[in-house]
Amino acid sequence: MNAPINIAGLLKKTKDVFNFHGGVRLPEHKAQSNQLPIGQLPLPDQLVLPLRQHIGIMPKVRVAVGDHVLKGQLIAEAEGSVSAAIHAPTSGTIAAIADAVLPHPSGLPDRCITITPDGNDTWIERHPQDWRKGDVNTLVNSLRLSGIVGLGGAAFPTQIKLRSTRSPIHTLVINAAECEPYITCDDMLMRERYDQVVHGIEVAQRLLAAKNIMIGIEDNKPEAIKAMQAAVENTGIQVKVVPTVYPSGDARRLVYLVLGKEVPQNKRSTEFGVQVFNVATVLALYRYFEFGEPAISRIVSMTGNVNQAQNFEVLFGTPLRHLVKAAGGAKADTSHYIMGGPMMGFNLPSEDVPITKSANCIIAASSTLFEPPPPSMPCIRCSRCADACPVSLQPQELYWFAKSDNFEKAQDYNLFDCIECGACSYVCPSDIPLVQYYRYAKSEVIALDKAQEAADLARERNEFRLARIEREKQERTAKHAARAQGAKVAKAAGNSGSKPAATDKQAAIAAAIARAKVQKETDSAAPKNTTEMSAATKAEIAETDSRRVAAGLTEEKSPAADGDKQAKIVAAIARAKAQKADVSKMSVSGDDKTTKPVVDADKQAKIDAAIKQAKVAKAEAGKEKTSGNNDGQLMVDAEKQAKIDAAIKRAKAAKFAALTAKNKEDN
């Protein structure tokens, strides 16, 4: 029973490459574009650089319209951890920072920086770094300014992949499989720039401290294999020739192909000490460290329905139209353009979209080249899709659940493990666009998750708000109770029979009045007739008082202050009343919750009457005071004093009556 397993184990050890489950063999169409060397494009009239060229956060614009920039100058800075910088691909002027159509399946516009080249192509000062001896951390951190992202198509910021991880990297796999039909950019890169590729691998090896290095190349690129094999001689780098089975270029598939290790679905290959880089990405790394050149261009295959398919070194931001022209123009029956390969690529919304960091291939499509799919037929459960699936999913089940919007069940069947390679759709005898269903289901699930997150946040914030309102209410009640208690005590001391104030403000006013009263009664020795004294008299009193204070006879207290205070209180009450009336009139109650929004004319009249009454009473009291003053005496005799006191009390009583009347009305 054990024998066959052992034999299998022995066989495995001697095997050079390990075939993964599923996959399809596709017509290659690669010979179209790999006949000519990599071409250079003339400078276009305009470069449009989308800020969103990579996975992650949009970078922050660092230039303004009208600025002159040099080739390689940083124009947008990486923001947050997963982000990449953008550099000016040539020297010129910033023409616009506005929305333009993106090379994105949505065809929606997004923020782009437009540069008008000046034609000089002047480089900014470059800072090469010694990658052979320099400090690894410094080198890796400096990559944040390089703008280098994975050039295989995913456009993941490279700096993050080079940062030290918890588990050290022992194996570095260079992805040069290039499994999709039509695409030949990596093939041509290896044929022409093999020496730089090897240096690039050495850079990555130094930064990751990897021991084993393998380059995985599909066996349909014999020239590239030959070139690389010659270049890696005596370096310890292995060139692994993998069979041409789509999708061997998927990182996990390639790791399995060259190492025989399957990376679990919920883990990254780095957790097992394996890191994967695209061959063009390591070359960009080398150029950044050796020459100080940031990511400003890439090699793009322009193929399909064009007159002369070829690979070009294209500056980022070059309009597609310009590239098509360089490839001899599109043939007359070209219907649209596809970015990426025919399996995983998407249709471009127009010929004006720019080439971005993730654009490895542009295919001009026509109805003869890509026949429109025949109408799909019902699923016959032949399970050919399951045989073809490189991730060993059950596409027929996923299709069923995605079609019926049963996303929960689709996730149970590991919808998110799907790499959207399209092998299932390719083999489907019923021509069902399976991948489209999975994409739809995935983006729905992502949107639902986001909505759920937002709902949770809203729930939390709502609960917090309710708790806060409750707390504030309790605090307010406690404060009111304390104040009312204080006012009551004060009133009891002041022998006042007024009702407890109903609202906060009124309570405060009442309390203030009561305080003033208590103070007055305790300070009965202080003169009460200080309001209408001449300046000279006031000064005299002040002088006397200061002498008294100096002698330690009394507390420091200006006699004028008493009168002032009273006047101030009266004024404050009047002001508060006026304000209240104003606020009521406006009928807009602001942040002050205590104000009553509307007071009708009747009430207003009553308030006015009360105020008038109070004023008359005050005037009478004032007259009496004045008469007392006219005698020229500072201190009035007891009888007069009693009279004045009575008058003041009357005035106060009138005022209180007015206040309480108002309280009643307000309530």
Binding site: L102, H104, Y440, L457, A458, R465
Partner: protein, 185 residues
Amino acid sequence: MLTALYIMLGLALLLGAVLGYAALKFKVEGDPLIARIDAILPQTQCGQCSYPGCKPYATAIANGEADINQCPPGGDEGVHALADLLGVEYKPLNEEHGETKPKAVAFIEEDVCIGCTLCIQACPVDAILGAAKHMHTIVASECTGCELCVAPCPVDCITMEPIEETPENWKWKYPIIPIKSEIKL
């Protein structure tokens, strides 16, 4: 015979003790049904259901006081989810409570705002920033689109702006296979 009885009795006592312990140890606090209903509700806190928020509506549903079809922001899917959860028959959304609208966020025209703070008091999720006599603004990421701030504004400077589609929130569409007429005349 007796041994068997003893065994059964012993087992019954043992299991009873285990169950009793588990009932105490793993006691669920609060009403899980309300929480589950609340989890389905969209947390817009708009009050269109005639309850002062999602949680009170969830409580009302759990107590059998409210119907499941009173939440317009939750839409048809929300009613379906509630029907599934509660094991009741699906009902189309009650139009009395309003209709489902595309998701929107409030927008304050800042030139017009007088800084009265009324909208701040109305916002159920504290998504409006501002102070008395100072301009207010919406924290768009926190706004649930409940529209509760629109009515109190004395100068009508708040509008509801539908959320626009961007490359970031764009979704792949459901595959539609166009029906082509093969018959050529």
